[in-house]
């Protein structure tokens, strides 16, 4: 496939990976921070799928959540604030063999990185994008983020944030070539794990917004949601996230949802954006959308002789 011969070596001895093989040192988030649950979920998925650590690349921007790669024992790229997606796409562009995970915050993705977010969605390269949405700038100590609820008192809006919060799901569902949009919550490890697993299975950019608790700065925002699960709406159905009945019981509100229906997905997102019936599960999935690596991989791994011949033909065109 794509003549990968010269660049890849074969996987030699049989290896079996345990959870520890993916652990990269003690995570230094605050006690109770939702980021930790996501870390654990991803490590489990990699273990379950026996993904070699060296074939996995975690890419992030800057923020509390963007420390994610440091706590994984895989390759990682902890780059610039807002720029996780271009880097991740670049990694994938000529290395389709690598399994790419992106960790990005609500500021990182939806504020400074918003332009890349639209376009990475359009490129739809095969990777999982985890939006750690804690509705605040954590690392820089409590400034308003685009997803901060109106009235949230922050250091930049001591009288309460003024603008209506950006809804990442509504936005995603308007971006061209969107292929996978899901939402989950950090405090339900089963649903979180199952959602990320579906995201990982999907070919294309799988966008998962994770409602992530930040007990340090936005405790109130999520406490309420967590206390009152009736504010959530569990999406279910053959094509949706499957969790076991015990977990399903936690959700008083449930709805059948077919992720191939973008109109329905938008309607769900719209209602959720009003703070009611916040949907959890897969809102949209379309595996048929083009993936940009099918373009960027062209000529991957051609031999040096073929390169040389191609170059000579090209130089001939300019010969006097």
């Amino acid at each position: 496939m794509f003549g990968l011969k010269s660049d890849w070596s074969l996987e030699l001895p049989e290896r079996y990976f345990t959870l520890e093989d993916y652990e990269g040192g003690v995570a230094r988030w605050c006690p109770g921070c939702g980021d930790l649950a996501v870390l654990t979920a991803v490590q489990k998925i990699l273990r379950d799928e026996q993904q070699p650590p060296e074939k996995t690349v975690c890419v992030s921007g800057i923020g509390c959540s963007s420390r994610f790669p440091h706590y994984m024992h895989t390759y990682g790229f902890h780059g610039l604030h807002g720029r996780a997606l271009p880097v991740a796409c670049g990694v994938k562009s000529r290395r389709p063999d690598l399994d790419v995970w992106v960790a990005t915050g609500d500021g990182d993705c939806c504020s400074i990185g918003a332009g890349h977010w639209i376009h990475a969605t359009r490129y739809n390269m095969d990777m999982v994008v985890m939006l750690f949405d804690n509705a605040v700038y954590g690392l820089t100590k409590k400034q308003t983020s685009p997803t901060s609820p109106r009235g949230l008192k922050t250091n930049t809006h001591p009288m309460g944030s003024w603008l209506p919060p950006l809804d990442p799901l509504c936005a995603m569902l308007g971006f061209t070539n969107v292929s996978f949009v899901a939402q989950t919550v950090d405090w339900n490890p089963v649903h979180l794990h199952a959602t990320l697993r579906e995201a990982h299975k999907h070919r294309g950019m799988s966008f998962v917004r994770i409602l992530q608790r930040c007990p340090t700065y936005t405790a109130a925002v999520f406490e309420e949601l967590q206390r009152d699960p009736s504010r959530l709406l569990l999406l279910k159905g053959d094509d949706n996230v499957a969790v076991d009945p015990a977990v399903m019981k936690i959700f008083p509100n449930q709805a059948e949802h077919d992720p191939s229906d973008i109109g329905a997905a938008r309607a769900l997102a719209e209602t959720g954006s009003q703070g009611e019936k916040v949907p959890v599960g897969i809102l949209f999935r379309d595996a048929s959308r083009p993936c940009y690596e099918d373009f960027t991989m062209q000529g991957l791994g051609i031999s040096a002789e073929d390169k040389l011949a191609g170059l000579k033909r090209e130089l001939d065109k300019f010969a006097v």
Binding site: F77, V87, G90, R95, G115, G299, E314
Partner: protein, 631 residues
């Protein structure tokens, strides 16, 4: 550089025998869409095939479709033909074909001609229906003559009518035919070239164009008294003809880079255009990103994953990439950044030349960001430097900026065909196991260099970060790590410098005046030095290819000259301008850099007219400086 550059183009002679010249500069100017460029390219190609040195440069208006007969709309081409290799666009043209008088004005404003220049001017405007045009034309012709131009008014369009029913389409080939006669180019060669260029369009088209060529040739025999001859020089090597951006594209391919990430920006874009159509043939791809930040980010991602990549841009794009360049330095990601400089600051003069991005390339990023900066001074270097840059980027694990400019980007000339061998290419990505005992930043204490694990290499797992980090690439909270990292990155420049040779002085190794240049001005500077030296002036020149690190030995070289000055296309206060003193004078960019490094009192001569420097201007400046004497 040419065998005979001391000889400027002779003033026009009476008809009869052709004047032998060391070189001849020809322009064709017209409204856009009249095919002047095609005709000029053919003239250049014919000349190159005849064994002449050639430098061709297109004259492109700033607007896409400027109104007809407007000065700012002047479109066309300049072809400089010489006996030896031509390295720049030269001085004022000796011969120009102008399809209307307004576009000629456009070029006069650009100082393209001098008294004595022969103008072959379309005369149909004399009888235009509109009175305004008639008047403009008549007044202009008188004015041109008053300026000393030798104007031949010629009914070109009418003359074409005998051969073609739509002279606006065919006139360019008619002009080419005329120029073959006037410039002593063989008509047969022109026919071959035309047959080649129009090959795909069928025999009919070729024949019509052949008829136009012949008609032009004969028309000139009868109507143009001037005839010039520029004898060719024997050629030894295989040559190719490209402009600087195509050369950059070929270089990127010859380096074996697989990924070019770019965002369109004049005058860099045409390099990406070329690559977009060609790189897949050598197994690569061009990614047009959503903006310049994403372009460099994408390239850095690919490079992190083992595929040394490049991004191509110009000033405003470089500005946007600043933060990512800093990351690439800090996290030691190999990367080639080609900057095709244009007029600045800000959006500036997008289609015009400047060398204004030197200091931004060196010092643009907050914090200490040692990186390699090179500047191509010839078309050949446009091709070769990306190859060198990729190697250096990988060897030193750092970004390398390659500076070129609009002058190189648009100049077309023959140069030796590179003899590419497979070792020019980036090697395949290493996916063998990595010894986990080797840290991802195992900085060598002397060179600062460290080997780099590539994703896929088992045992090499690490997390790249732009934060201060340890040799293990762990976020550093201790005060020492940052200092150690900075030291290692700085040592790399030292290590590279120790492998470079002192630059060669062009001319005598000591003397009264040394001119220091960098980038595209080399040809013009050396031509001017030749001319001055031919007249006995004690002047030499030195051209820098590495700007960071600087090539070694500069202080010693400078000490051998009474005066040292840089010549650059960027801004400096005129020393004689009101209130300018030695203390408050803002100097040109290379001068500033060299003064800080060598403490030599380096003067400069520079400007930001957006034009390539002409050898004649430099020559004149040499004279002035030597006269002024002292300091």
């Amino acid at each position: 550089m040419t065998g005979d550059t001391g000889t400027p183009v002779a003033a026009p002679l009476e008809a009869g025998t052709a004047v032998r010249l060391g070189e001849l500069i020809v322009e064709i100017v017209s409204d856009s869409g009249e095919g002047a460029q095609k005709a000029g390219q053919a003239l250049g190609a014919i000349s190159a095939k005849m064994g002449n040195g050639v430098w061709t440069v297109e004259i492109i208006p700033a607007e896409i479709k400027p109104p007809a007969r407007s000065r700012a709309g002047a479109s066309g081409i300049r072809v400089r033909i010489g006996s030896g290799p031509m390295t720049n666009m030269g001085d004022e043209a000796g011969l120009v074909v102008a399809l209307n008088e307004q576009v000629l004005y456009g070029r006069i404003e650009q100082r393209a001609y001098r008294p004595g220049t022969v103008v072959l001017l379309e005369s149909k405007w004399k009888d235009d229906q509109q009175e305004l045009i008639r008047r403009q034309y008549t007044e202009a012709v008188a004015d041109f003559r008053a300026r000393g131009l030798v104007v031949r008014e010629l009914p070109l369009e009418e003359a074409c009518l005998g051969v073609t029913s739509d002279p606006r389409v065919g006139k360019n080939m008619f002009v080419l035919g005329m120029l073959c006669r006037v410039c002593g180019r063989a008509l047969e060669k022109a026919k071959e070239e035309v047959a080649f260029v129009f090959g795909r369009k069928g025999q009919d088209v070729i024949e019509r164009n052949h008829r136009l060529l012949e008609a032009g040739f004969h028309f000139a025999e009868e109507n143009v008294p001037e005839r010039f001859e520029v004898p060719p020089a024997p050629r030894t090597t295989d040559l190719i003809v490209t402009n600087g951006n195509q050369a950059v594209g070929l270089g990127v391919m010859a380096a074996g880079m697989e990924l070019v990430a770019m965002y369109p920006i004049t005058p860099a874009t045409s390099a990406s255009h070329y690559l977009s159509g060609a790189i897949q043939k050598v197994g690569g791809v061009v990614h047009q990103a959503e903006d310049e930040i994403a372009a460099i980010g994408f390239a850095i991602g690919a490079s992190y994953a083992g595929k040394t990549a490049c991004t191509i841009t110009s000033g405003p794009g470089l500005a946007l990439k600043t933060e990512f360049v800093g990351l690439a330095v800090m996290a030691e990601v190999p990367l080639v950044i080609v900057v095709v400089q244009r007029g600045g600051p800000s959006t500036g003069l997008p289609t015009k030349v400047e060398q204004g991005d030197l200091l931004a390339s060196l010092f643009g990023e907050p914090g200490d960001t040692p990186k390699i900066v090179m500047a191509a001074s010839t078309l050949e270097e446009c091709l070769l430097f990306p190859v060198t840059a990729r190697r250096l980027a990988e060897a030193f694990r750092t970004p390398v900026i390659v500076l070129t400019d609009a002058n190189l980007a648009t100049g077309v000339a023959p140069f030796p065909r590179p003899q590419v061998t497979p070792d020019w290419f980036a090697p395949p990505v290493d996916q063998s196991a990595w010894d986990p005992a080797v840290e991802p930043f195992a900085w060598d204490p002397t060179t600062g260099i460290s080997p780099r694990p590539i994703p896929g290499q088992r045992g090499g797992e690490y997390v790249l970060t732009g934060l201060a980090h340890t040799r293990r690439s762990k976020v550093a909270y201790d005060p020492d790590s940052n200092q150690r990292g900075c030291e290692a990155r700085s040592a790399k420049l030292r290590a590279l410098q120790s492998t470079l040779r002192p630059p060669e002085v062009y001319g005598d190794a000591s003397g009264e005046l040394l001119i220091v240049g960098w980038g595209s001005t080399r040809g013009a500077i050396e031509e001017a030095v030749d001319r001055a030296r031919a007249e006995g002036l004690s002047v030499s020149s030195l051209h820098l290819r590495f700007l960071s690190p600087l090539e070694p030995g500069l202080g010693e070289i400078f000490a051998r000259f009474a005066k040292v000055m840089t010549i650059e296309i960027n801004y400096s206060d005129e020393p004689d301008a009101p209130a300018v003193t030695d203390e408050n004078r803002r100097r040109a960019q290379l001068a500033t850099l060299l003064r800080a490094t060598t403490l030599v009192d380096i003067d400069c001569w520079s400007n930001v007219y957006g034009q390539p420097l002409q050898p004649r201007q430099i020559y004149a400046e040499i004279g002035r400086r030597l006269e002024r004497g002292g300091n």
